[in-house]
Amino acid sequence: MQDEPTPAELTKAVADFLRNDIAPQISGHAAFKLRVAINALDLVTRQLSLQGDSDAAELHGLTMLLGVHGTLAGLNADLAERIAAGDVDLDTPGVKEHLWQTTLAKLAVDQPNYAAYKRETEK
C-alpha cells in the first residue's frame, strides 16, 4: 500500500509552486512553455481526483446501455462498434444522455474552462 501524500496532493503542490513562485520570474517563450507545464500538472490533479467517480458512473452507464458486463475499455469499444454498425444511435434510449455525461466528464478533466463546457454546465 503506497503512502501519503496522495499523487493528486503532490501534483497540486508542484503546480502551485510553479504557478506562484516561479512563473512571476519567467518571461518570453519560457513563460509560455511553463504555462503548458502547469496546465498539464493541473490536468493530472483533476484526473486523479475525479476519475474514480466518473469511471464508475461511466461503467454503470455502459452496462445499462449494452446489457453486458465488462471492462471500461472493452464496453466502450463495444459501444463504438455498435454505433459504427448503426445498431445504436441517438434514438436508442439512454445513448444521448450517456454520451453527454461521459463527454462532460472528459472536459471536467481536460479543459473545464472550455467555453462550450462552461455553457453546458451552466444549464
Partner: protein
C-alpha cells in the same frame, strides 16, 4: 539551417533576382522544425529597404506529402491568388537549385496581426471586427473563383474520401471513440455527394492564418493544405468552434455571424449558399480537428519529439467531442 549559412545564401539569391539590391540584413529565424523554417530579413535597396519572409525546407523535405501540397505548389498558388486580387502575400521569388536554400519561396513581409485573441479583444480591431465575416465571405468567393486551368496540380478530395480517411485514422488510434463514431455515421448518412462545383479549397482558412489590420484582412496565409474539392469545406472550417477562441456565440472565427459570411460570399460570387451543406462541412471539420489532436498524441508517444505541448494537444480531442454533441445532439 544555421544563420551563418542562410545569410550569405540569401544575399546571393536576392542579388540574382532583385535589381539594385545591395544586400540583406536583419536575418532572423522566426520559427522552424526539422522539416520547415520561416525567416524574416530585409532586402537592402537604395530606394528603401524591403521587408521579406523566407519559407524553406531543406533538401528532401518540402515536397507534397499527405495533405500538404508542397512549398513549390504553395508559392504558385499564393502568386496566382494575389495576382487575381485575393489578399495574399506578394511572392518575390520561388527558390531553385542555384539558391542553395532547398525548396521554398520568398515573399514580401506584411504587417498585421494573426493572433486570434488579440484580434478578438484588442481595441485596435474594434471597428473592423463586425465587418470581418462579410469580408471573409467575399475573400473565399475570390479564392474559389480562381480558374482551375491556371492552378498548379492539386490533390482532389471528396467528402466520401475524407470520411473514409478519418475512419481509418480513428481505427488506427486503437482507442474507443463513441462520439467520433456517431459523427462518422452522421456524415456518411448526409454526404451530399460530389459537389456540382469543384474548386480550389484553401484547406486551412481560419483564425490564425488570417493577417488582419485595423483596416481589415491584409493577407490569407498558409496555403499548404490547399486542394480541389467542395468549396463549402472552407466555410465550414472557419465556423469550427475551436477557432472561435471562446466567443462561441459568434460562429465565424469568434467575430461574426454565418449570415454575414454567406452574404459576403453570395455578393461576390453570385451564388446562393446552402447552409445545411456548410453545416455538413462544419461537422466534418470538427471531427477532423479532433482526429488531428489524437494524431498529435500518437506523435508525442512515438517521438522523436516527446514534448509536453504535443502531449497536451492530445487532450484537446475532448473539446471536439463536446462540439460534435452540441452540433448533432443538442440538449434543450
Amino acid at each position: 539551417m544555421a544563420a551563418e549559412s542562410t545569410e550569405p545564401l540569401l544575399a546571393r539569391s536576392v542579388a540574382s533576382w532583385c535589381a539594385d539590391a545591395t544586400g540583406v540584413s536583419a536575418v532572423t529565424r522566426l520559427s522552424g522544425g526539422a522539416s520547415q523554417e520561416t525567416w524574416s530579413f530585409d532586402i537592402e535597396h537604395p530606394d528603401g529597404n524591403l521587408g521579406a519572409i523566407l519559407r524553406r525546407a531543406p533538401a528532401g523535405y518540402g515536397a507534397a506529402s499527405g495533405r500538404a501540397c508542397g512549398l513549390d505548389t504553395e508559392a504558385a498558388l499564393i502568386r496566382r491568388a494575389q495576382e487575381a486580387g485575393v489578399p495574399a502575400p506578394v511572392v518575390l521569388h520561388a527558390l531553385d537549385e542555384n539558391d542553395g536554400l532547398g525548396t521554398g519561396f520568398i515573399m514580401k513581409r506584411i504587417a498585421g496581426e494573426t493572433i486570434p485573441r488579440k484580434i478578438l479583444r484588442d481595441e485596435l480591431f474594434a471597428a473592423v471586427r463586425p465587418k470581418l465575416a462579410h469580408q471573409l465571405g467575399g475573400i473565399l468567393a475570390g479564392i474559389h473563383g480562381l480558374p482551375q486551368a491556371e492552378l498548379p496540380e492539386l490533390r482532389r478530395m471528396t467528402a466520401a474520401a475524407e470520411i473514409d480517411e478519418l475512419a481509418d485514422d480513428i481505427a488506427a488510434f486503437n482507442w474507443p471513440r463513441p462520439v467520433f463514431q456517431l459523427a462518422l455515421r452522421w456524415l456518411r448518412d448526409r454526404d451530399p455527394g460530389v459537389a456540382d462545383r469543384v474548386t480550389l479549397v484553401h484547406g486551412d482558412f481560419r483564425h490564425g492564418n488570417l493577417m488582419i489590420g485595423p483596416d481589415g484582412v491584409r493577407a490569407v496565409l498558409d496555403w499548404e493544405l490547399a486542394h480541389l474539392g467542395d468549396p463549402m469545406e472552407d466555410l465550414g472550417w472557419i465556423c469550427v468552434n475551436s477557432w472561435r477562441f471562446g466567443e462561441i456565440d459568434r460562429p465565424v472565427g469568434g467575430f461574426g455571424e454565418r449570415n454575414d459570411l454567406f452574404a459576403g460570399y453570395e455578393a461576390a460570387s453570385g451564388m446562393r449558399i446552402d447552409p445545411s451543406r456548410v453545416k455538413f462541412w462544419e461537422v466534418m471539420g470538427t471531427l477532423r480537428w479532433g482526429v488531428m489532436c489524437c494524431g498529435m498524441m500518437q506523435r508525442f508517444r512515438d517521438g522523436p519529439d516527446h514534448s509536453m505541448e504535443r502531449a497536451m494537444i492530445g487532450r484537446r480531442s475532448s473539446e471536439t467531442e463536446i462540439d460534435l454533441l452540441r452540433l448533432l445532439a443538442p440538449r434543450a
